[in-house]
């Protein structure tokens, strides 16, 4: 299912469910007897855009963006989503770093965007195209 691309809260809930599912029986037992707890921290933030934080400094937001991108099914969807994010160069570099994508200072915004597309979406579409074509 494709996420509502701008609704990070839904993505976060799914991540939380995934996290709960990943807990071992021992960890669940610790929660049951009060030896461990799960915390949510409310962080008040300064501005109030669609993405109200500096992406590059916020791992959760970065991960959410990466997860959203990895669900995209075409170059057009990718372009549309990217446009809606209004990312800055620093954000693109942070996304590249998060996905271990090689880049240099000489790469312009467009090159960084292409690299992200290829690493997160392009390779899957290409693989699917090869396997369906034959």
């Amino acid at each position: 299912m494709l996420y509502d691309l701008n609704n990070f809260y839904l993505i976060e809930i799914e991540r939380y469910i995934k996290f709960l599912k990943s807990l071992t029986p021992a960890q669940l037992a610790k929660l049951d007897i009060g030896d461990a707890q799960i915390s949510f921290i409310f962080d008040e933030i300064a501005c109030c855009d669609v993405f109200p934080v500096n992406h590059a400094d916020n791992n959760l937001v970065m991960e959410s963006i990466l997860e959203s991108i990895s669900q995209l099914e075409s170059k057009a969807e990718f372009d549309q989503y990217f446009k809606s994010l209004g990312l800055k160069r620093k954000d693109l570099e942070a996304l590249c770093r998060a996905k271990d994508i090689p880049y240099t200072k000489r790469d312009n915004m467009s090159a960084l965007k292409d690299k992200l597309y290829e690493r997160l979406v392009g390779f899957k579409l290409r693989s699917r195209a090869i396997q369906n074509d034959n």
Partner: protein, 305 residues
């Protein structure tokens, strides 16, 4: 007897180097191993035997071409007669295990055309039976070898999906895919998987339609053992970033990827074939880091089998 085809659509991915080193390491561990060189470039063959000796003693009537050939005067009917024991590598093994070879021939490339003439037929039944018969050609040869003679048969396939390559897949229980961590080599993995699936489906469909209970028409089901990344460049003890992304992508596409990689090392790998002894045997003492990688790949391979 485990039969493994080593193949990637893309050439130059270190396929022959991987085959030679895996085979040598398995033999070093005490196994009896047969390598079959199906690549007309004959690189595996010339990694173990001198081209001059091959030309004088082997080329005419003791290569894999003599098994596949449709010409009566060239055709060999006893597969065992094609098996050679390369001297240098077996000396290096010092009796631990045995490493034998069925050599290739530069003219093997023409055999595909000969085999293609044996396909076809007047109706679907005949077409199916001929398809199975032609593609079983290598399997029939390997079936002539006593089961206890070898623990492993490792087939070095050409970088294409012609009839000879398909014969290797039909004869194999396992398929191992070497790949460079780059764009074209990893794309070759997708092509290969699709082609193998199609071959298995066609072959098994024809077998199912043949109204014959003979063993000849048993279905096949070769298992993809996984992808081994070769020629990996390292920096600071890790594969460089440009390699890592292709390795990660291959994993994310659901492929089984070996945790160990073969590193790029032209100094060692480029020259080893000249000595007839693969790196894994020739450099056990003085290049333990490189050798350890091959040993790790073989460890993983043995666990998967």
């Amino acid at each position: 007897m485990h039969i493994i085809s080593v193949i990637n659509y893309k050439g130059g991915v270190g396929k022959t180097t991987l085959t030679a080193n895996i085979a040598a390491e398995l033999a070093y561990r005490g196994h009896d191993v047969l390598m079959v060189d199906l690549d007309p470039q004959a690189s595996l063959t010339f990694s173990f035997i001198e081209p001059e000796w091959w030309r004088k003693e082997i080329a005419v009537n003791k290569t894999i071409k003599n098994w596949f050939s449709t010409k009566k005067r060239e055709r060999c009917k006893n597969f065992n007669q094609l098996i050679l024991s390369p001297e240098a590598v077996n000396d290096a093994l010092d009796g631990r295990g045995r490493l034998d070879l069925v050599s290739s021939h530069l003219d093997l490339i023409n055999v595909d055309l000969e085999l293609a003439t044996e396909l076809g037929g007047v109706d679907m039944k005949q077409i199916g039976e001929k398809f199975v018969k032609v593609h079983r050609r290598l399997k029939e040869g390997l079936d002539q070898i006593p089961d206890e003679a070898y623990d492993f048969v490792i087939i070095d396939c050409p970088p294409n999906f012609n009839i000879v390559t398909k014969c290797a897949i039909v004869a194999s229980q396992y398929v191992l895919i070497p790949a460079k961590a780059d764009y074209l080599s990893t794309m070759g993995i997708d092509y290969l998987k699709t082609s193998v699936q199609k071959l298995v489906k066609d072959y098994n469909d024809f077998c199912a339609k043949a109204d014959d209970d003979d063993d000849e028409f048993l279905p096949i089901n070769p298992e993809l053992l996984g992808v081994v990344f070769t020629m990996v460049q390292y920096y600071g003890g890790l594969p460089i970033n440009a390699c890592r992304q292709y390795i990660d992508q291959t994993r994310e596409l659901g492929n089984s990827v070996f945790d160990s990689y073969m590193r790029e090392n032209k100094t060692l790998y480029a020259d080893a074939p000249r000595s007839g002894v693969p790196v894994v045997l020739g450099f056990k003492r003085n290049r333990a880091d490189v050798v350890r990688e091959i040993e790790n790949i073989v460890d993983e391979l043995e666990v998967k089998l």
